[in-house]
Every structure is written in C-alpha cells, then in structure tokens.
C-alpha cells in the first residue's frame, strides 16, 4: 500500500513542481480535448501540427525582447500563429491554392524564421526549451496563463458549439441559412492557436499537438457524440498527463515525451479494445455476421 502511495501520490504530495505539473496537465487537458476533437472533425488533424510550428518565431521574438518570460513568448507565439492562419486563409480564398497547401508553405517559412531567430539570439538550450518544453518548470504565471486559456476555451466552445458542429457537418447548409460559418471557423482557429501557446511552455511546440490529437482520435473508439468525444478526449489527455508525470518521475524521463507517449499508448489500447469500431469489436461483429 505504501509502495503504491509512493508511486502514484507521493511525488505530487512531496514536490511543488510535480503538483504544478499536474495542475498544468489538467488545464491543458480541458482545452486540448475539445480543440483536438474539432480538428479531427474538420479534417484538419495535420494542420494542428503546422500551426504548432508556426508559433515559433513569435515566441522567439518574445524571448529576445523579454527573456524567458511566458507572457511575452506566449503573446508573440499567439500573434505569429494567428498571422500564419490568417494569411493562409486569405491565400486560399483569393487564389486557387487549397488551405492545407498554403498552410504548409507559411508554416515552413515561419518555422525556419523561428529557428533562425532562436539560434542567433539565444542558445541551443533555449531552442530545446521552446521545441520540447519543460512541464516541471511551469511557474505561477505560466499556470495562470494555462488556466486562463482553458477557461476561455471552454466558455467560447459553449457559445459557438451549435454553429461549429453544423459548420463541420455540413458547411454549405449552414451558410445557406445565413449561419456565420466563416466567423465560427476563425474563432475556432483562434482557440487552436491559443491552446498551442498554452501547451508549448509545458510540452514544447513539437509535443503540444500530441496532447490535442492523440486523445481526440482515441476518443473516436469509445463514444459517438461530439460533446462526449470532447469529454472523453479531455479525460484521456488528463490521464496521459498524470501517468506521464508519474513515469517521468519514477524513471527520470523527460516529461513531455513521456506524457505524449502515454497518450499514444492509450490511443493504441483504444484502437484495440474500443467498443466503437475498435479492432476486437470489429472482429467479433464480423464473426456474428458469418454465422
């Protein structure tokens, strides 16, 4: 019993940085769950990745101006991400180029610019910090930012839920009845960028997307409604955060990859045993049909 306590609860009771890390995971999970689910539903799974990298130059400029301060880097990253999303949207609107192609172009420009800025004005350590994050170094300011982002995300999702679902399901219909599909799409992209920024302090720009996408695609094997998908995705994200922290503490692993790998494991388990189209449930259903 004591051993179990030492493994599962002890680290969080004894160390403030573990406690903060856990709270950060909860905040991240609440926002990342619904964001990831809607990214998947909009068939923008890979665009999330793209957006994550595009925040880098903004974060780097924030770092150059204010040092290792999350509000400055966060604001810079948020503006850079929004700018890339906006320009890509405009390009796809006014030329024949599709949104994913223009996204890819601008994020590469943005990422290269970011790496250039960080490596000329910072050290390799800083670059590693921005790319991979350190959830165990989350300070109070960062925690407030994450909690704020989670709160804003959940409130805004509640406001735009109905039009966002309609827009994802059948955007032509929503536009035909005068629904503000474009506005809803823009607000949603803003939430994506906001949650990226919130995630990069803890997990880094490379890993932040993992905590959005893996729980969202895992949830698909458990439930079949948009709201329940979002809830399950948040739950999976939080479990991944908790288990990832425990593993990283116990085996002295870097926390970001440990969290995202745990989410990956949960995805693979869902893929296998999920009751909604998981591999095992599909097989047993086929066997029933064969009789």
């Amino acid at each position: 019993m004591n051993q179990l306590y030492d493994l599962l609860i002890g680290p969080f009771a004894d160390f403030a940085f573990m406690k903060r890390g856990l709270v950060a995971c909860l905040a991240l999970a609440l926002g990342a769950g619904p964001v990831g689910v809607f990214l998947v539903l909009r068939r923008m799974s890979l665009i999330g990745d793209t957006m994550a990298h595009s925040v880098l130059p903004g974060a780097a400029i924030g770092f150059m101006l204010a040092g290792l301060s999350l509000p400055a880097m966060g604001l810079g990253g948020f503006l850079a991400g929004l700018l890339v999303a906006l320009i890509s949207g405009l390009v796809s609107r006014y030329t024949h180029q599709k949104e994913d192609a223009s996204f890819a172009a601008f994020f590469m420009i943005s990422l290269a610019l970011g790496v250039l800025l960080v490596s000329t004005h910072g050290s390799t350590v800083d670059l590693m910090h921005v790319l991979f994050g350190t959830i165990l170094a989350v300070d109070d300011a960062a925690l407030m930012l994450m909690a704020g982002v989670a709160t804003v995300s959940l409130l805004l999702f509640a406001v735009i839920y109905r039009p966002l679902v309609a827009e994802c399901f059948d955007s032509a219909f929503l536009r035909s009845v005068g629904g503000k599909g474009g506005l809803v799409h823009t607000l949603f992209l803003m939430l994506v960028v906001l949650n990226m920024v919130s995630g990069f302090q803890a997990l880094g720009t490379l890993m932040a997307v993992g905590l959005m996408m893996l729980p969202a695609v895992a949830a698909r094997f458990w439930v079949r409604q948009v709201w329940s998908l979002a809830a399950v995705a948040s739950l999976v994200a939080f479990i991944s955060g908790y288990a990832g922290l425990v593993l990283s503490y116990r085996f002295d692993l870097p926390s970001g990859p440990a969290i995202v790998l745990t989410a990956g494991m949960l995805y693979l388990v869902s893929l296998l045993i999920g009751p909604r189209g998981g591999l095992i449930s599909n097989r047993t259903r086929q066997r029933h049909l064969a009789h």
């Binding site: 039009p163 399901f169 059948d170 032509a172 219909f173 035909s176």
Partner: protein
C-alpha cells in the same frame, strides 16, 4: 405568365477566377413551380442553384427573391459535401432544419422535437431519432436530410442532385415527397440527371449548358434538338478557354 415569380434571374453570370461557369441567364421561377435543372456535366447546374441560395455571388447580373430572404429557403447540398462518418445523431441533423427559428443560441424544446419527429416519420424513419447518422445506409441518410428540409418548412426548396446513387425505392419515396411539396404550393428547384425522372415528375425544366438553352414546360425543353444543342456546346468546352470580357472585376 400571370403567376407571380418567386425567383427572378437577370442577366446572371457567375465565374470562377474570371472563367464564367454560367453566363447571361435571365428568367424567373413561378411561385409554386416544380422545376428540374438539367444539362451536361460541367454545365453550371450546381453553380446556378448555389447562386440562388446565396452561396456564390454573381459576377454580373442578379438574383431577386420575391418576399423572402435567401436564408429562408431550404437547401439540400450534394451528398458528397457532407461528412457521412460525422458523430451526430439523426435527431440533431433534423433539428438543424429549424435553424431559421432557433439559430445558434435559442433553446430547443418539446415543440421543436415534435416537429423533427414528425418530419422523420414522414420520410419513413420513425424511431430512428436516437441512431447515429453515420451508421445509416446511404438511402437512409438521404431520407434524414429530406426530413431536415421538411422541418425547415420553407416556401422555397432547392435540391442539388438529391437522388444520385440512391436505390430505386428511396428515390421513388423521396420523389413522392417532392410532389407533395408541390401540391402544398411550395416552389421546388432540383438539379437532376435522369431525363426519364424529369419527364415523369417535373412539370418544368431549365436546360443549361453554361448558357440557357431552354426553360419552360418540360416537354418543350427536353426535345431532341435542344439536347443535341446542349451536348454540342459541352463538347466545345475547353477549361482554359475564353475569359469572358463582359465581366467587370
């Protein structure tokens, strides 16, 4: 014509990147008419219907709706534009038809649910409300989308290829529903491919080949001569051909 028109097109031209998809179309749909839009592939049939509903803007000319806004019309997009694996219940899809009344924020109560349930019963899907849209067959999904149109209760209904890839039974049931809308005095405009279907069920037709070939009673529109003319025009199309100089930017 003595009847009042509900949709009037005046010299309507719609272009994609300055290449006209349809040009210089004028005429009107009478209130309560049942019209099929037909023509070869690439003739601009979907473009025309999307412009009427306001999804595309004319490069030149205009669409006038009589006594209603475009947002009050009920529209069925091509089924390929809808994500059929989307995690949504049948009930929620049908309730979307009430958008004009409930919009993004107003609550959905017993009255709205009753409208949706009645609409489902009308398309032969009573007690399907709790099912997942993605778990249905293609025919059942199209019935659900027709129930959404029923729930919208609009005087003007626009259908973009409503019967493509459907089984014969579903097609016939849904055609009967379209006829009942016609009998109730609603105006229905549908993009169709099957000329036999059009001759049997649609009193009026509009034959399109980027330009208007003919518009009026179906038997005077779907003549051998007109169809030959439409086909000849479609064979002459070249995607990178003329930029219509008549279009102002």
């Amino acid at each position: 014509m003595s009847m009042t028109s509900i949709v009037t097109l005046q010299d309507l031209t719609v272009a994609y990147e300055r290449h006209p998809a349809i040009h210089h179309i004028s005429g009107s749909f009478a209130q309560g008419s049942l019209t099929a839009i037909v023509g070869p592939n690439g003739a601009g049939k979907s473009t025309l219907i999307k412009t009427i509903i306001g999804l595309l803007s004319p490069a030149q000319g205009k669409v006038t709706l009589n006594g209603m806004k475009a947002a009050d019309a009920a529209f069925l997009p091509q089924s390929t534009t809808i994500d059929d694996s989307f995690p949504i219940s049948v009930m929620d899809v049908v309730l979307m038809g009430l958008w004009r009344k409930v919009g993004a924020f107003r609550s959905i109560g017993r009255k709205e649910r009753k409208i949706a349930l009645d609409a489902l019963a009308l398309v032969g899907l009573a007690e399907f409300e709790g099912r997942n849209f993605g778990s249905l067959s293609a025919g059942q999904r199209q019935r659900v989308l027709f129930a959404r149109l029923v729930a919208a209760d609009s005087p003007l209904i626009l259908l973009d290829e409503p019967f493509t890839a459907l089984d014969a039974r579903t097609t016939l049931d849904l055609l009967r529903l379209v006829q009942s809308w016609h009998e109730q005095g609603r105006t229905v405009i549908a993009v169709l491919h099957d000329f036999e279907q059009v001759r049997r069920f649609f009193p009026d037709s509009l034959l399109l080949a980027r330009e208007l070939i003919a518009w009026g009673p179906t038997e005077t529109v779907l003549t051998a001569d007109n169809l030959k003319k439409a086909r000849a025009m479609s064979e002459a199309w070249d995607e990178d051909a003329e930029i219509c100089l008549g279009i102002g930017e």
